[in-house]
């Protein structure tokens, strides 16, 4: 038991760390690799949970997570990058030091919010809240569209793990739905990115390009 909880806390910490690091890397491929590792972590956590709670459905859920988030999504994204040779997404609004400060503020905020909301003193919960907020920050800070996509996926990882730890009932139907949702989302995102590339020649959701679309 205790061993299981410790593993869960470890997974939570790893997810949080990965979210943080995603904010700092430069290459797109690294970003996707980090996402891959994050998904693996979530799968491991689910397997752990299934063994402690003796529910086979969670095992299936873990396998599904592995399949969709660990294999399918990264493959799609890697292919996309190779096709359009968008290897770097360095552009961001805040410089690296400032981003680090904001991330620290976010983590503090998450730690202050979490106990009041959940009431539990488990170490994992504030970490996961921080992971969720970091993923949101990734979406806001980075100019590239691909970063937004990865940000949403990381966000989803964090939410899944958080709900699992908070004890939400993990039926197979739920996981299946989440998986389906991820798959569809990937398809839409890749279509969106393709259109962006075709139209603007780059993936920047930058003011210079998109703001021309507003009505004047």
């Amino acid at each position: 038991m205790i061993f299981g909880i410790q593993i869960l806390a470890l997974c939570a910490g790893l997810v949080f760390l990965l979210s943080l690091v995603m904010n700092l890397v430069r290459k797109n491929t690294t970003l996707i690799s980090l996402y891959l590792v994050q998904s693996l972590t979530v799968a491991v956590a689910l397997v752990m949970l299934s063994s402690t709670e003796q529910s086979p459905s969670l095992l299936y859920a873990a396998l599904l997570t592995l399949g969709v988030k660990g294999i399918m999504a990264p493959t799609f994204l890697f292919r996309l990058i190779r096709k359009y040779t968008a290897h770097f997404s360095a552009a961001s609004y805040l410089s690296t030091p400032l981003s680090l400060i904001v991330l620290a503020a976010i983590t503090a905020f998450a730690y202050s919010v979490a106990p009041a909301l959940t009431g539990s003193g488990a170490a994992a919960v504030p970490l996961l809240f921080a992971a969720i907020f970091s993923a949101s920050f990734l979406m806001v800070n980075r100019r590239g569209a691909l970063s937004a996509v990865i940000g949403v996926l990381a966000l989803e990882n964090g939410i899944v793990l958080l709900s699992t730890i908070l004890g939400a009932a993990h039926t197979f139907a739920l996981e299946f739905t989440i998986g389906f949702d991820i798959a569809v989302w990937i398809a839409i995102a890749s279509a969106f990115l393709t259109m962006l590339y075709r139209e603007f020649g780059m993936t920047d959701t930058d003011m210079r390009m998109m703001s021309h679309l507003t009505e004047e």
């Binding site: 949101s136 569209a145 507003t214």
Partner: protein, 680 residues
């Protein structure tokens, strides 16, 4: 009798629904004549059923409550409550709907092949059913639903002639202002729900919940604005002179005659039944009525479009009804219920009278428009020889609306005057002066209305034709004459039979205040007694008048039996008279507009084209442009609209087009929500 009471209302609604359905089924282009005839026929049947049902309710003094079974989500929503007041309004609506539907069978034929009659029939029946549901609704949700159905249905009817840009823009203005009023109503009803915890009107009727005074005033204010918008009270009336002329004439009759009265019905419910005892609101309503009456008739005098003229007269008559209603509310609040009953009887009597003579006027105006193809009175003239029956019906309506005895307009104006006089005598000083203002406004309004209808009838029907279309006009068919004759007979009946009708309305009013009972039968020669201050016996007055006319006529025939009559030209001072030598409708009312120019602010623009531009001595042509600005648009609606636009433009700055900013908004909102959850 009891079967009528039990099923009459539902059967009526079903007939309307059937008419709507039939109309849609036959709405393909080949079968539109069938669709139109069927839809109007079933509407007429529905109206007849409604009328019988309503009369049964009034005469038996009973109250009909209907509950539809639970239909899924609409568990307690489909409830209807028909008491004396609702039955009175249903009777009014059904009478006018009956006449208008029969009229419409023949009238709509002119649109065959031009517009889609099948769709018209659908919206027509929806509109009628919506009005019935508004009157009978017993809870807030049903009421609001029916109110919107009524508004949307009538919008499609107003914008029916969609190739005419004026009709389309009139419809747009109408639905916009209607929705604005409805927004106020939604706010009022939502506040009521929050305060009382239920949508049912029974809760309000039983005064089960005492609301805090401030909240009650806010709700009444919102409700008053919402209902005043629908009723066409100044300054919320600007849709009325645009929408009523644009619709087909029998729809105009319905809108002007009964749709604006649904707002009056709800005002009676709110201010007399649900939240009585507010003298200040009564005085506010009275002032609104006085202003609307006077300004309405002044604007009507400046019009030369016959249907716009009639639409402004609706504003005037709503003002007269509000005079009576405001007086009633004030009397009930000051503790003089007997006077309050008289005032409320006056208001309700004028409601039904206006419904009758206004729809009569609109139907006959519709006949004229149908025959000549134009609404401009300056192109009419001499139609009394070509459309004699329409002329008689229009004259009846004109005499009735001017308040001349022995027709019905006189009786309701008499009753309104008496309630105002009682207020001047019996109420404390501030209310006294407002009642005096109301009496003065009513006195002037009566005279100005008569002037306006001399102009309308004279310019349209008398003298020589002013244009070709008037020369070639033809009388309407019997299907159009029959409903007009029916309404004309009713105006005379409601005038002469006042001693019978007034106690009936009095019964309705008494049951509203909780003192019910069956209808007393009064002899038509009895007198209406206002606390021994004034007595009126309309039948006797009518009798004396008819006897005097007969005596005079016989005497003249006897005296001049040896005289000969020669037909010759009007005295023309030696030149031949052309139609341009008659007085025009614009010229007729020019004196009054000049006298009231402070209120109306007319403007004159003169342009001239000269033969020689440098000397400018001999003019080739001159043009005079007389106009009256729409002051409400300039000072109320346009500033409000531009304020909304400017603030919207400023708010648009948050739309940068940058995806990251939008994500930041989401993120910040989430954080703020979490933080607020933390604080609470």
């Amino acid at each position: 009798m009891s079967t009528v009471l039990q099923y009459g209302f539902v059967v009526s609604l079903e007939l309307y629904a059937f008419g709507a359905l039939c109309s849609l089924l036959f709405s393909s282009r080949g079968r539109e004549a069938t669709a139109s005839t069927f839809s109007h026929f079933f509407a007429a049947c529905g109206a007849l059923t409604g009328l019988v049902f309503a009369l049964a309710v009034i005469f038996s003094g009973s109250v009909v409550d209907l509950h539809a079974g639970a239909i899924g989500l609409a568990q307690n929503v489909l409830t209807f409550h028909v008491d004396g007041l609702a039955a009175f309004f249903i009777a009014t609506i059904s009478t006018v709907a009956l006449a208008a539907s029969v009229y419409g069978i023949a009238y709509q034929k002119q649109f065959l092949g031009v517009y889609r009659l099948g769709h018209f029939g659908f919206f027509y029946n929806t509109f009628l059913a919506g009005m019935l549901a508004v009157i009978a609704a017993d809870n807030g949700i049903m009421f609001l639903f029916a109110w919107e159905a009524m508004a949307v249905g009538s919008y499609f009817l107003v914008a029916f002639e969609r190739h005419d840009s004026h009709a389309v823009s009139a419809g747009k203005l109408y639905i916009l202002i209607s929705q604005l009023g409805a927004a106020f109503l939604f706010a009022a009803f939502l506040l009521l729900f929050r305060a009382t915890g239920s949508w049912d009107f029974d809760v309000l009727r039983a005064h089960a919940v005492i609301l805090p005074a401030m909240l009650e005033h806010v709700i009444l204010g919102l409700a008053l604005i919402g209902f005043a918008t629908k009723a066409g009270v100044i300054p919320l009336h600007i849709w009325l002179p645009e929408a009523h002329p644009a619709a087909p004439s029998h729809v105009s009759a319905l809108m002007s005659g009964v749709m604006i009265k649904t707002a009056i019905f709800m005002m009676v419910r709110f201010f007399v039944e649900f939240f009585p005892g507010h003298a200040s609101w009564g005085l506010v309503i009275l002032v609104l009525g006085a202003v609307s009456a006077l300004l309405g008739v002044l604007y009507a005098l400046s019009e030369h479009d016959i249907k716009r003229l009639l639409a402004f007269h609706s504003v005037e008559n709503i003002g007269i009804i509000l005079l009576g209603l405001g007086a009633a509310i004030a009397f009930f609040a000051y503790g003089i219920p007997v006077a309050g009953y008289v005032a409320l009887i006056a208001a309700l009597y004028h409601t039904v009278n206006h419904a009758l003579f206004k729809s009569l006027l609109f139907l006959s105006a519709g006949s004229v428009v149908h025959a000549t193809g134009t609404r401009n009175m300056e192109e009419y003239g001499g139609l009394i020889k070509r459309m004699p029956w329409t002329a008689v019906f229009f004259l009846t309506g004109a005499v009735a609306i001017s308040g001349l005895p022995p027709f019905n307009g006189f009786v309701s104006e008499w009753l309104t005057f008496q309630s105002l006089f009682t207020g001047i005598a019996a109420l404390p000083l501030p209310a006294k002066s407002i009642f005096l203002l109301g009496a003065a406004s009513l006195a002037f309004t009566g005279g100005l209305a008569a002037a306006c209808f001399v102009k309308a009838f004279g310019a349209t029907f008398l003298a020589r034709p002013r244009s070709d279309v008037a020369v070639h006009a033809h009388e309407s068919g019997w299907l159009m004459k029959l409903p007009m004759g029916f309404l004309a007979a009713l105006t005379l009946l409601f005038g002469v039979g006042a001693s019978f009708i007034a106690p009936a309305i009095g019964q309705v009013v008494l049951s509203l205040r909780g003192e019910g009972g069956a209808m007393p039968l009064v002899s038509p020669f009895a007198m209406i007694n206002i606390r021994d201050f004034a007595l009126l016996s309309m039948a006797s007055v009518a009798l004396v008048l008819i006897a005097a006319v007969l005596v005079t006529y016989i005497a003249i025939r006897v005296i001049s039996r040896h005289s000969r009559t020669r037909i010759a030209r009007t005295w023309d001072c030696g030149v031949s008279l052309t139609p341009r030598m008659e007085i025009t409708a614009t010229g007729f009312s020019r004196s009054i507009i000049t006298i009231f120019r402070g209120l109306l602010r007319p403007s004159i623009q003169k342009t001239a084209e000269y033969h020689d531009a440098s000397t400018r001595y001999f003019a080739k042509s001159r043009m005079v442009h007389l106009s009256m600005p729409n002051l409400y648009r300039t000072y109320l609606y346009d500033p409000a609209a531009s304020l909304v636009e400017r603030s919207a433009l400023k708010t648009r700055r948050i739309q940068t087009g940058n995806l990251n900013i939008y994500l930041l908004y989401i993120f910040l909102t989430l954080a703020a929500l979490l933080a607020s959850a933390l604080i609470s």
